[in-house]
Symmetry: C2
Subunit: 280 residues, 2 copies
Amino acid sequence: MRTFLECLPCMMQQALRAGRMATDDDIKVKKILDEVGALIKDIPMDSTPAESGALVYGKIREITGVIDPYKKIKEASIKEAQSLYPELKKAVTDSDNPLLTAIRIAIAGNVIDFGMSKKFSLVEDVQKILKQDFAIKDFDDFETQLKNARSVLYLGDNAGESVFDKILIEELGKPVTYVVREIPVINDVVYQDAIDSGLDEVAEIISSGTTAPGTILDLCTDDFVEIFNQADMVISKGQGNYEGLSNVDRSVFFLLKAKCPVIADDIGVKEDDIILKYKG
Amino acid sequence: MRTFLECLPCMMQQALRAGRMATDDDIKVKKILDEVGALIKDIPMDSTPAESGALVYGKIREITGVIDPYKKIKEASIKEAQSLYPELKKAVTDSDNPLLTAIRIAIAGNVIDFGMSKKFSLVEDVQKILKQDFAIKDFDDFETQLKNARSVLYLGDNAGESVFDKILIEELGKPVTYVVREIPVINDVVYQDAIDSGLDEVAEIISSGTTAPGTILDLCTDDFVEIFNQADMVISKGQGNYEGLSNVDRSVFFLLKAKCPVIADDIGVKEDDIILKYKG
């Protein structure tokens, strides 16, 4: 997905929010905004928003020296998600269609996104999404491809959401490789967050090598790109991964909640819709 | 009021919104965002947001060549407000306290603000504000100063709101000078809008000389500053005028709805509160 004009003010908002998360020093936050403002003119509109995100969050690291501004928030999100785990596991077990319910739960976890200005309440949002109709529901394709896959490559998105991913991975019944970001960016899941979420119990955890808040293949390691291209089935969680992979030359299942109007528009759905989209 | 860090991403949003209003050419809008982004670093945090607003809207004029992007919107706002005029005049006449009701109506008109991302519905918002409690209600001071004033200087804010201002001016019972911006900026009231609102029937209309979306004395003409300093009573409508005048060295009555969290915070009220504030 390309960058839209709406993404540019949004980058400034993200810079402010994340800058404030990293430091109490308003002088430093102003410097972040100055520098992000100045780089707007260099953003190519045919690049993905997540690529610019890598620049924005890089500036925050550079100016504040804080590597992981969202560390405490990520830990709290994982803890909160884990407190819901038993109840959600039961919802899957009790369901007529455990796989579809687990998909819903994995999408529900996608509300845990601190890159957005939108507020969320995990417990309430999960309850809502468990009953919400899908705007796109390519479940038959999902079932078919899963049945034929020897293994699944699962691209994680946010920390906390990762606990809900575990629930879906447990229903897939195939060997799974779970992909995390190389370094902290927003509240995206990194290796340690995946371990804290218990994903090492159900999947092999690897890094895509990216510093962007999304899977942008140009910014990933060659090793990862090869794994990605050769995977039997790819499950991509969230907006950032969608941004990077919406036009790649292979099949991908996108599981996400459309939290931003620009992404909703690009997918052809409405804001707050939930999506299980097959890109062949 | 000084500029807060939150104002900087907001300027980018305003640039996008107003740029889109001025042109369908995305290349030009991108150029506006590039240039506004680049000038963030030069914004002194001790200047008012309205001063930076003058720069932002100046860029839009310069890049698009469009002098008044909100012209049609302003005309529609005035028309809609005029359609409510008879009903609101009756509300004043029927009221136990016509002056206070007219103040409420003038504040209700302050929702017509296209500088904000917040959406509004004039009819519904007016009905709501007519029943809403004031967060600050310095009505006694207002009545006393009005009684003793030979004349009133009334600083207009938005076009459309200007029709509601007429209702308050009719209740003041004193000679009124109504102040407009020198050139179009956002949907702020300029001379022709004031005429279209029928303000020439109840007041003398003058320009402050400013190109900012607010009364920033440093950007006003010397003639206006003299009129301002010597006025018996000053009524200031809206956020932009508050930004410019919150710290000036004379008494002012601020009538506004706090539509932005930063301004609400500066005044010490909550977002969406309505305010009749006396600054002595």
